[in-house]
Structure formats: structure tokens, C-alpha cells
């Protein structure tokens, strides 16, 4: 008994650094949010904030800025998740062919996972630049220019997010394809399934665990996209209100508007949306998933 007590105290001691880091950087800020949300900051920085209870939550949720941000966020997610997943699936299917040199393509396709948001943003920013960019050169040159165009700015940053998500999505789909039961696919070939039927009736259903995982991960990824918008658009941009997704709004509220109360309310809302969406996905989507049982 004494020994096990010594052992467990040693275990806690060893866990301490990790717990401390989590505590300081995750648990404490998470809880502090709920406190901050109850305090309103005065319009002029420097004056003390004062307790307003839940009224601030109500006023934020009712504001036009929040509504616009919510719409932008959902549009962004709806563009990024399906395109990223289907793109990754298409690449994975292409790279799944047993051809020489496929490993090179696999490396290329999965490389977006390790490329930084900043680099991707700068590269795409250049491609879309109205003067030196590739897209204008191809004749795609709306006025105002893409990245400050209220209609095109959001799809443009979504495109970058899709591109970045492709790598992870490709890896998830490739892993899924490689673990498909070979004999089931062979049985389907013998039963007369051609390429199209094979893909939609057999491969995709068998791949549903990977697709589901991809949807969950992709949704969270899309909700947390931030870098592209910060680097390419920013609050001075004319199209800003159309690209002000929730996470960016949080950042903006805090560091530009200097309003911790607003930021706290927004991040609680973001957290709630993600939590609810993930639960809904598990509740409804997972029912259609077939985990191999034999």
C-alpha cells in the first residue's frame, strides 16, 4: 500500500507539467471566458469594465455584425468541407491505382498538410493579384479585384482552405481505401459491378467511416480557419464584412476593438456551435456509417 501511494504520487508529479500547461493555456482561459462574457467594456479603452450579467450575450446575439459573421462562417464551412472531402477522395482514388511512381503523387497530394497557412495565403494571394496574378492573366479579373470583392473574397479564401484541407482529406481517404476488404470488391466485380456502380454502391459505403471522420475533422478545421483571412483580407478591406467568420471576429473583437467581453461571448458561441454540430454529426450521420463487423 505504501509503495502504491509512493508510485501514484510519482505519477502525479510526472503529470504535473502537462497538467500545468493544460491548466494555464486551456482550462483557465476556457472558464475565464464565461466570466468575461458577463462584463461589458466601455466604448473607450482605459475605463473599467462593469458587470452586466447576461445582457451582453443577448445584445451580441442580436447584432447585425454577429448575424453577418454567422452567415459568412456557414457559407465558408459549406464550401470547404464538401469540396475538400470530395477532392481528397478523388485524388485518393486516382492515387490508389496500382501504377508505377504512385508514391510520388501520394507525397505531393498529402504535402498540403505540412505547408503553412501563411505560405499558402501568400502564394494564392499572388495568384489572385489583380496586376501580377495568374487568375487575372487567365481573364478572371472582376472589379473590385477578387480579394476585395464582396462576392468573391469569401470563395477565394475558402479555396485556400480547401487546398490546405486536401492533404489531410487525401490521407484519410487513402487510409480508408487501403483498408477496404479486397474480397468484397472482388465479389462485386464477379457479380457484374462496373466502375461506376462499384464506386457508388460498394466503395463509398464501405468508405463511410473515413468519410464520416473526414466530415467531423473538416468541419472543425473550417470553423477554425483564420490565417488566410488575416493575411489576405483584414479589417481595412472593403470586402471584410463578408469574410468576417466567427473565429476572425473573436480575434478582431479582442485585438482591434479591444473588447474582451464581446470576444468572450463570440468564442462561447463558436464553442457551442462546434459542440452541437459534432454531437449532431455523431447522432445522425454515424447511423449511416458501416463499420466493418467481420
Amino acid at each position: 500500500m505504501r509503495r502504491s501511494l509512493r508510485e501514484s504520487s510519482l505519477a502525479y508529479l510526472l503529470l504535473l507539467p502537462a497538467l500545468a500547461i493544460f491548466g494555464v493555456f486551456t482550462f483557465y482561459p476556457f472558464l475565464e471566458n464565461f466570466r468575461l462574457a458577463l462584463y461589458e467594456n466601455p466604448p473607450f479603452p482605459g475605463l473599467p469594465s462593469h458587470y452586466v450579467g447576461l445582457s451582453q450575450v443577448g445584445s451580441v446575439l442580436g447584432s447585425t455584425g454577429f448575424h453577418q459573421s454567422l452567415v459568412s462562417t456557414f457559407l465558408f464551412v459549406i464550401m470547404v468541407v464538401p469540396c475538400g472531402l470530395l477532392g481528397g477522395l478523388a485524388l485518393a482514388v486516382a492515387a490508389h491505382q496500382k501504377l508505377a511512381g504512385m508514391s510520388i503523387y501520394r507525397t505531393i497530394f498529402s504535402s498540403t498538410v505540412v505547408s503553412s497557412v501563411a505560405v499558402a495565403a501568400v502564394v494564392f494571394g499572388t495568384l489572385m493579384d489583380p496586376v501580377v496574378g495568374l487568375l487575372p492573366w487567365l481573364g478572371i479579373n472582376p472589379t473590385p479585384p477578387i480579394l476585395s470583392n464582396p462576392t468573391w473574397a469569401l470563395p477565394a479564401v475558402a479555396l485556400i482552405a480547401i487546398w490546405q484541407f486536401l492533404g489531410l482529406s487525401f490521407i484519410i481517404m487513402t487510409a480508408g481505401l487501403q483498408s477496404l476488404p479486397e474480397e468484397v470488391l472482388e465479389a462485386a466485380r464477379l457479380d457484374g459491378a462496373g466502375g461506376w456502380t462499384m464506386f457508388w454502391r460498394i466503395t463509398v459505403p464501405l468508405l463511410s467511416p473515413s468519410l464520416f471522420f473526414g466530415v467531423v475533422v473538416g468541419t472543425i478545421y473550417a470553423f477554425q480557419s483564420f490565417g488566410q483571412i488575416d493575411i489576405l483580407i483584414g479589417p481595412q478591406n472593403a470586402a471584410f464584412t463578408h469574410t468576417n467568420v466567427l473565429l476572425y471576429y473573436v480575434y478582431n473583437a479582442l485585438s482591434v476593438q479591444n473588447n474582451p467581453g464581446l470576444a468572450a461571448v463570440l468564442s462561447i458561441v463558436l464553442f457551442t456551435i462546434l459542440l452541437v454540430l459534432t454531437l449532431v454529426q455523431f447522432r445522425f450521420l454515424e447511423r449511416r456509417v458501416h463499420y466493418a463487423s467481420d
Binding site: E183, R189, L190, G192, A193, S293, D294
Partner: protein, 360 residues
């Protein structure tokens, strides 16, 4: 319905020769069992018929049609896999229906054919279940139903019973035979279980190292094995094989010397100039007596209806003696003499393993 013909069919995987110049004809309506030890190329031969494996060399024909380059779906063959390979996301109904849908069979006919196949295999209560909710034996029957519903020209079955328990295996075995006899569909059935082979096949093809050793009816195979390998592979336990030498006695009568004992040269085998032969006899052709090969019992296996005595000869060779008698009184390390029924002796060439020819 159709025959299946292998003419010099070879399959190489890089440097492994899985099937080596196989010549075999499966007759229309026949159930042919492919039997052999693990890794001898049975699955590979079957998969070539299905079109899942390309033929490296030789010709493969179904009916009169050379199918080497025909896609699997155009061969009109159905396969039952060892893993069953059911579609896990479809109900039993849809699993069985799947090949019919691909053939474009109309909905009304589809459901009546599915129901008929399901009823044949006792699955009519389970049509709405998914494979994950079925027992191993039930999954096996769904796989069979999916094969028979198509009424294909050829059935291919790769060890379909090996995942079932002993009782279920015996029952499903007779179900498969009954269905095959009723439908009369040409069937190639792969197994390494010789009881399955003996009880199911019209003929058995024994393979070894990718090549065909012998193809014959079960009784012919048992009674007149063409090689020492076939002799030892068939039967449980297999045939006893001893190194022996032919000699001519003082009076000119030929004889056989094995394990220190002398036997008369058996009828029906031509004499061998070199002298070295392999002597074979089944466990039931041996009995214990007052004369014969000197041996010591090293293991007694009592199986209920019969007893197997595993004996070691003076030079260490093993011999199994089967006794029909339930209460064999023999014990481990008893010294015994083994008498061989000379009418039931088989002789093989010591080098090639081939059965010695008929003659005097």
C-alpha cells in the same frame, strides 16, 4: 452450364510459380474438388477461372470460349469466398439481389428469385438483417444464396466451410452437394480437407507445388493412388510409406525387404531393375500378429469406434495401425509385430514417387 478446361495453364508471381502447366478438364455438370496442402496453388487456379488473376501462360476455357482475356463480369461465374465477402452495408435481401440487379433483371422476377434462393438455404426469415447480425453459418449460406441466385455457368468455391464449426460443416457440406446435384452446375470446389474432398467430389484433383498429381474419382484415388504423395495425403491417417528393396530369392521368386522383414513381391506391380521402391499400405491393411515387422508402440489414439496405434520400427520409421476394435488392450511402449496384408500393398518408385506399373 459449361465445362472448364485448363490447357498448360501457368501462373507466376514474380519468381514464385503458383500454378505450373496445369492440364485439367472439369466436365459439364461435374463437382470437381481441388485438393492439396497449403500453398500448392489451389486458390490461384480458382481465381484464374474467376478472372481475378491473370493467366501467365497457357489457355483457360469455359465451354468452348477461351477466357484468358475476358473480364470477370463477362465470364458468368459465381464465387464463394472463404471470408464470405458479403456486402456489409446491404441487407441479406440486397446482398442476394445485387448480381441480379447488375444483370438488369426486372424487379418482380428479382424478388421471386431472391426468395427462392433464400428459401432453398433457409434464409427467408433473415432477409432484412445485415451481415453483421448473422452467425458464421448464416453468412456462409447468404454467400451461397448470392452465388446460386444468378444461375451461373460455373460455381467456384474456395474453402467455403473452413470457418464453420465441425457440426455445421458436415451439414453445410451435404447442403452444397444437394444443391449442386439438383442444379447440375459445373463446380470447382477448393479444400485442403480430404474428408470434404472424398464426400463431395465427383472427382478429386490433387495438387502439389502448383502441379497436378492425379485426378480421379474419390474411390480410385484412395484405392489406386498414382503417386506416393497422393497416397500419404489421402486418408486419415494417410498411407504408411516405407523404404523397401526388391530382391530375388534362392528359388527365383521375387521378394521385398523392408524394415528388416521379408515379404513376397505383391501381384500387379512390374519388377524394378534398380530395386529401390517405396512400400505403401493403409493403416487398415496392417494388423498386429505373431510375425511381421518389429515395432514398438509410441502412441495409442482411441477414437471410440476404432483405435490408432502409432508405432516406431527398428530404424525409426513410423507406421500407423488401425484397429476396428474399441477396447484395444495395447499400451504405449509394448513391443509388437506388424503384419501387412499383401493384397493391399502399393508400390511406388523410390525416386519419382510414381506408382509402379501393372505387370508380372
Amino acid at each position: 452450364m459449361a465445362s472448364v478446361t485448363f490447357s498448360g495453364v501457368t501462373k507466376r508471381f514474380d519468381d514464385v510459380v503458383a500454378v505450373n502447366a496445369l492440364d485439367l478438364e472439369v466436365a459439364d455438370g461435374e463437382l470437381l474438388v481441388l485438393l492439396g496442402p497449403s500453398g500448392c496453388g489451389k486458390t490461384t487456379a480458382l481465381r484464374m477461372v474467376a478472372g481475378l488473376e491473370e493467366v501467365t501462360d497457357g489457355d483457360l476455357a469455359i465451354g468452348d470460349l477461351r477466357v484468358n482475356d475476358l473480364a470477370p463480369k463477362d465470364r458468368d461465374v459465381a464465387m464463394v469466398f472463404q471470408s464470405y465477402a458479403l456486402y456489409p452495408h446491404m441487407t441479406v435481401q440486397r446482398n442476394i439481389e445485387f448480381p441480379l440487379k447488375r444483370q438488369g433483371v426486372a424487379a418482380a422476377e428479382r424478388s421471386s428469385r431472391v426468395l427462392e434462393a433464400a428459401t432453398t438455404l433457409g434464409l427467408d426469415e433473415l432477409l432484412e438483417r445485415k451481415p453483421g447480425q448473422l452467425s458464421g453459418g448464416q453468412r456462409q449460406r447468404v454467400a451461397l444464396a448470392r452465388a446460386i441466385v444468378r444461375a451461373p455457368r460455373v460455381f467456384l468455391m474456395d474453402e467455403p466451410l473452413s470457418n464453420l464449426d465441425a457440426t455445421l460443416r458436415v451439414q453445410t457440406r451435404s447442403d452444397i452437394v444437394a444443391i449442386q446435384r439438383r442444379l447440375g452446375t459445373t463446380t470447382i470446389y477448393v479444400t485442403h480437407d480430404q474428408v470434404e474432398a472424398m464426400t463431395m467430389g465427383h472427382r478429386i484433383a490433387v495438387m502439389r507445388n502448383g502441379a497436378l498429381e492425379q485426378v480421379a474419382s474419390p474411390t480410385d484415388l484412395y484405392d489406386r493412388p498414382a503417386t506416393a504423395f497422393v497416397a500419404s495425403f489421402l486418408g486419415s491417417p494417410g498411407m504408411n510409406l516405407l523404404a523397401a528393396t526388391g530382391f530375388t530369392g534362392h528359388d527365383g521368386t521375387p521378394g521385398l525387404r523392408a524394415a528388416g522383414a521379408e515379404l513376397p513381391w505383391p501381384d500387379g506391380f512390374s519388377r524394378q531393375p534398380s530395386g529401390d521402391v517405396t512400400l505403401g499400405f493403409r493403416p487398415e491393411a496392417a494388423s498386429l500378429g505373431s510375425e511381421g515387422l518389429d515395432a514398438r508402440i509410441i502412441l495409442v489414439e482411441r477414437l471410440g469406434a476404432e483405435t490408432h496405434l502409432i508405432c516406431s520400427l527398428a530404424d525409426g520409421e513410423r507406421v500407423v495401425v488401425r484397429q476396428r476394435d474399441r477396447q484395444s488392450s495395447h499400451q504405449i511402449s509394448d513391443h509388437v509385430r506388424i503384419r501387412i496384408d499383401t493384397d493391399q500393398i502399393h508400390l511406388f518408385d523410390a525416386e519419382s514417387g510414381l506408382r509402379l506399373g501393372e505387370g508380372t
